[in-house]
Amino acid sequence: MDVNYVGEHLLPGQIGQFFIVLSFGAALLSCIAYFFATKNPEETSWKKIARIGFWVNAVSVVAVGATLFYIIYNHFFEYNYAFAHSSRDLPTYYIISSFWEGQEGSFWLWMFWQTVLGAILLFKAKSWETSVMTFVMLCQAFLASMIIGVELLGLRIGSSPFILLRDAMDFPILKQANYLSLIKDGNGLNPLLQNYWMVIHPPTLFLGFASMIVPFAYATGALWTKRYKEWISAALPWALFAVMILGAGIIMGSFWAYEALNFGGFWAWDPVENASIIPWFTLIAAVHVMIAYKNSGHSYFTATFLAMISFVLVIYASYLTRSGVLGETSVHSFTDLGMSGQLILFNVAFLVIMVVFLVIKKKEMPITEKDEEIYSREFWMFIGALVLTVACAQIIASTSIPVFNKIFGTKVAPPLEPIQHYNKWQSGFAVIVMIMTGFTQFLKYKRSDSRKFLASTVASLAVAIILTAIISYFTKTYTNLIYILITFASIFCILANIRVLGDAVKGKWKLAGSSVAHIGFGLLLIGAMVAAATNEVISVNNTGYIAVSGFDKVEKPGENLFLTEGEPVQMGEYKITYIGDSIAAPNTYYKIKYERVDEETGKVKEQFVLQPFAQNNAKMGGLIGTPATKHYITHDVYTLITAAAAESQAQHSKTANEEKTGFEDYEEPATYQVNIGDTLRYRNGYYVIEGLNKEAQLEKIPKGPNDVMVGLKIKVVAADNKQYEVQPIYLIKDGGIYDFNKDVTDQGLKFRFTGIKPDKDKLEIMVYQKPLPEKKWVVFKAIKFPYINFFWCGTIIMTIGFIMSIVRRNKEEKRKLAK
């Protein structure tokens, strides 16, 4: 059945789809051509074809991105991607974020970075180009296949971002020719992603992931072309770059989680977070053994293996987050697009490449038979790398529980307290790794003087012990042995590296990069440990808690605090007041005023207003809170709205609509016996019984000869002197008694004239009043994070250290090539 759909823009989609197919074809062609170019280096035509393939692929990738942007930017909701991930009110800079809300867009992002890296390799890799690019383009072809969205032999391959809404969904409404006019707006971007960190965190993370192919490709290319020894120094700057970018990307994600997510922390060992840190661990280990090999000739196999496995683990990470396998254990993995088969294939392909090369070439590898010296740097770098790998294995094992369940059909649930579970293991590893990072600084490659080594180590240990005591005391972490050990190990590492840095200032500048990075990591670890160990919920709810019935006694008071607008509450050292809110659609900002009052003088020492906001979002299931944080040098105060008044009121009115009697909005009525001329008060003023109206009439009800129909004239005077006239009516018709009420809507009043009592000479009225408008309230939670700035600060220092190392290693390689 052919329907002529109205108003669709099919051309951009067709162009985009064409370029996806072209990018896949070009990548595959380039990969094959590079393969033959590596096999027959004399025949330059292969390399020429490969390069053409690369550039066609590059142009296609850019074209796909531009088309997708054009579609989202112009709100062409006939495309599923635009409909599912954007809406009309989305600011332009968040259109970029909507790119990576979906899997297709994030695959594109990966492809895009790989194209950029490929272009750099094309110009810089020289003799390595053909072998390295073979693997880069193979990966590029795999990625293109993820978004190609074609059916082949009944199998759907990839998921295209250019699929039409009416093809993606099976709703009858989409079969109508004019369905587009019925779609007013897109589904919108997940409010959690509407944060500036989400504009830069995913690109950084994906640049990190993408750049991990380069060390992999160098290692594999080296084994393939038998240039065993050369690859290490050539790939080292790339490995450092990948580690730096991925590290920065992970921490940015952590900062986003802290600033924008509502789980109250910066790291939760969520499987998605773990997936990104797993390859980081192995590549960090790889970088260290690569340097060890370069300087000593030891650990060749380990260096090659770690560089290769890191990229395989990147693909494994994307399998974890994209296949839906994490389903029940993770909140923020992507939704399943039914591509797990394809992802497994991608994974297996690179795993097989790795294993085959490592096994076949094992015999030819330059592995020394010499035994390592115990007093040598390379030996401890090797051990450190192994410890890191084991730490990584722990994360892989715990995160992969759902995968094992799938493979073996078991139903094992992940640990109940994931944070404690991971912390328990990782803190132990952290202590070992940090101590090794410390004392290894005092060792030299190949052979060191053991006496000198022991002297420097003992001196640093002594200082570290004193500093640890001081820091533990001030950060109040001295109650727990493992906290003390982490502090001690990190301090020791920092001190040892400061000594190296001291030498660097005297002239050995080239060693500075690693020590700066180590110092940064030490600070990061202390900051993370202290903030995670000593953060405390300060919005502890002691009131209202006792009032709750018996069985709650066993539990500690709740962590959410109830605040009514304008009523200050004392919370720890702060007096807090909910002073109102403002709406900037789609968010509501709740203004929470914090005041620190001097107890003796009553003076306000400090005051600030935090504006956490929340968005009522149907797609995400209701109210999504975004925290606001007050940053101090030594601690942060983090505030999050967990419930708000507008929500509950909306629910109340819903129930009212079902069975409306006209009286349920009012309080219990009051009945009065009154006389003409009486004045009575109500909540917001007074009213006067002015007199009876015997001429009263009612529409639709004619007055019969024996009927009595009397109106009661009432004048209402509100507090602001506004006057209202009302006339409720009393009726006796055919022996039955009726009354007809009248409202003063402005004042929330309802009058009934319910009786005439001639015997008492009284008139009876009933007055209904609406309750006062409910005061606004919020339920919120506040957490104090001490010393979290160490964490951010350490990250920045570590990144600077990486940059210094990259510059140094890059220069070394250039100098070597120049010789």
Binding site: F83, G265, T335, F382, W425, N541, G544, N560, F562, K619
Partner: protein, 135 residues
Amino acid sequence: MKKSSIILIAIIAVAIAMILVIYTDSSTYSTFTEAKEKKTELYVVGQLNKDKVLHYDPKTDANKFSFFMYDNEGTECEVVFRGAKPQDIERSEQIVLTGKMDGNVFRASKILMKCPSKYNDKSVVTEINATAFNN
């Protein structure tokens, strides 16, 4: 044998031991009946009883939310959650609770909900923690 090889073997042994230990730390998806017998923290998977009232009154206690849930065996149990009511729990089609039994009441420390998404047939998973992670 080289020192590094010996250490490699030792570390692999440690890694294997570690993975075994990890599995003793892991839990199982369970039912209310089992929760009553064991009295330890565990996961219970089930559905919300939509016919019974969900009770959350932030004015009296902002940290108490209670509801009734069927586990996968069809056993019904009252669940008390120390925290704010997760929005949209009414629409959930599956709930995974973390917590333990206390008398006839299940005390949840974490609620993971799977809700049907409005616009597509895929489900959206939301996780709500009762308290911060430092408990």
